[in-house]
Symmetry: C2
DNA sequence: AGGTACCGTGGGAGCGCTCCCACCGGTGAT
DNA sequence: ATCACCGGTGGGAGCGCTCCCACGGTACCT
């Protein structure tokens, strides 16, 4: 019998201690090698590495997490129902960027949906248990309580799309203002004069910035801003349809539409079609996102491209730094933690 | 000063010990309450629950995992690149089923892609570290080494779609054989006589079963099986196009096609169109999966529906049982661990 | 020669929990 | 009254790791 104390509940997996014995060193030294500490002599390191290989040692994550008080995991929190997640290419691109950047590290990515109230409660519990070292927050609305919860729990977080100009969380965003300007300037340069704008959800800061860009591009070009040419949407196809109908009603003589998303543009296109307007002959159309929809639309849609994968990568960068150097909040306050990436206008047949 | 030993690295979160003190009971008792053990008196339970609420106690997952040697997490492993995952509604439905069933429990779901070699190595490492209590395996090909790795590591696993009739892992599948029969019988009942079949990837057992169903449905109806009417595909749209072209070449007089997936049917439809065949007038078309594509096709596609969400739910059921009653392998061998769910033919305009 | 610095190393203490054994007092059988 | 029993409870031991202090040795200074 192996005795009482040697129950070895981990299914016979070797422990640090055993590796140490095998390599003829102490536990601390093995730990140092495993964690890549430089304060180990080459000979010792080699011996330990050999022992690790021979025994097939794999560190016990739970023990490490308990002792070191970290989890080596971060969560990508999507405050939307799964359906939305799969429907919008934005998320999958983001996920790809995040994944690629993270695969360089030992960090594990968790995908968490928080669309329903129930899921949100579950998430709150999850965060309270500190089961992740940091959080990536995408698609957050102005009144979402999640960022504050995160701050209160002192969990490092990075948000894609700041909630306002005064965002306190680290954030990565594309240049919504500049992107909108690009779109409008492009339409103006094509000789369009009555350019309408279907906005996104205005409780999303980025949507507001696009309106700002729209306005100022017109103004800078010497055109007055006609408020009747601005109609609120909500980033959805249905919203695009409703807004387009309202615009046509109010300003039947419009000759261009800048929509705050490709999906919105798709809705607008439908209504324009039904109203007998030809694209781009009668009305030019420009979208935002440069998603697959834009390429497959009939006619192909001119759209403002955001570097979504790049955004995902940058978010991870920021988050990992945030996790690594958890310095006093005061000094962090001063750093540049708001990253803004440039957009690019992709011209196609719709304009 | 709080002294040396009281460093409390967990960010001030209350521990079991503190809850016990507050409730005036021992550590063991609190643990029992937290874990829902029945061997606690009502009065004590109430006292502990009050203390938990007052202190806002949340168990430390790492400590629990270390002491109990379990992780309370399971992985959904997708041996495909992300792209494929997002493109196919199959996966998102599966995820939804799995998620809904799992939300009843404390278990945490991890989504892991293992499309590239690199990702697979990472996964192997991950599994070797026993970072999950069980694994859900979807879309596995006959020669995939993953199931064996899992068996070797003694990690409970459930596979969606057995690799062969002799599958040793627990599995949940839809009735591929029966589904194919439904499709073919339907076409025959509509008076079609030269029914072709575009298969799925034949290294997927389910695809083989569909071929079997196709064959036997014809035979049972008194028709000879014309091998020239069977053309291998691979579940993709491009595969559907190729196969359809080959079939038209070989048997220009075919009057129906049963495709092993909706996506394949979409490819076939294109080629039929280009060849000037009308659907369903000249050629009837039936797909498999009843995905969104089927509903949106022109004309809407008759398709064999698999209860994918239900499959996801059943997989979780099986897996949780497997994890819970880890009895000696011998006795498990005898149990019914292969679940097969019925399919349903959804008739639309294409047939 | 003695002192000081520092590098590489060993191992104690502890992370917060579960598991299990021992113990307590009350109950029913003898 | 005595004893075995049992539901309810407390707490020691241990899970496998990291952190950190202490220690021996070498190199370099004074």
């Amino acid at each position: 019998m192996a005795g009482h104390g040697a129950r070895s509940r981990s299914g016979g997996r070797p422990t640090l201690e055993e590796v140490a014995a095998r390599a003829g060193v102490g536990r601390g030294t093995v730990s140092r090698v495993i964690n890549g500490s430089p304060r180990v002599s080459d000979a010792t390191r080699a011996a330990v590495e050999a022992a690790v290989a021979e025994l097939g040692y794999v560190p016990n994550t739970a023990a490490r997490a308990l002792a070191a008080n970290r989890t080596d995991a971060i969560a990508l929190v999507v405050p939307e129902p799964e359906t939305r997640f799969f429907a919008e290419p934005y998320f999958s691109d983001m996920l790809r960027g995040v994944g690629s950047e993270l695969s360089e590290t030992e960090m594990q990515l968790l995908l968490i949906f928080a669309g329903s109230d129930r899921e949100r409660r579950r998430l709150a519990q999850y965060l309270a248990a500190h089961r992740v070292d940091g959080v990536l927050l995408v698609s957050v609305h102005a009144d979402d309580p999640l960022p504050d919860l995160l701050a209160q729990l002192e969990i490092p977080a990075v948000i894609s799309g700041p909630r306002s100009a005064a965002e306190t969380l680290a954030s990565v965003d594309s240049d919504n203002y500049g992107g909108a300007r690009q779109a409008v300037e492009h339409l103006l340069s094509r000789g369009r004069r009555r350019v309408a704008h279907i906005t996104g959800r205005l409780d999303v800061y980025g949507a507001q910035r696009r309106v700002d860009g729209y306005r100022e591009a017109l103004r800078d070009a010497g055109h007055a801003v006609d408020e009747a040419l601005i109609e609120p949407g909500d980033f959805t196809e249905e919203g695009g349809r409703r807004a387009m109908a309202a615009l046509l009603e109010r300003r039947p003589d419009l000759d261009a539409v800048f929509a705050a998303s490709d999906v919105t543009a798709a809705g607008a296109r439908q209504v324009l079609r039904e109203a007998g307007r030809r694209i781009p002959d009668d009305v030019a159309l420009v979208g935002y996102d440069d998603s697959a929809i834009a390429r497959h639309m009939e006619p192909p849609l001119t759209s403002v491209r955001q570097p979504i994968q790049e955004m995902g990568r940058r978010m991870i960068d920021l988050l990992l730094t945030e996790i690594a150097d958890r310095r006093p909040a005061v000094s962090r306050e001063l750093e540049r933690r708001q990253v803004v990436l440039a957009t690019e206008l992709v011209e196609r047949a719709s304009s």
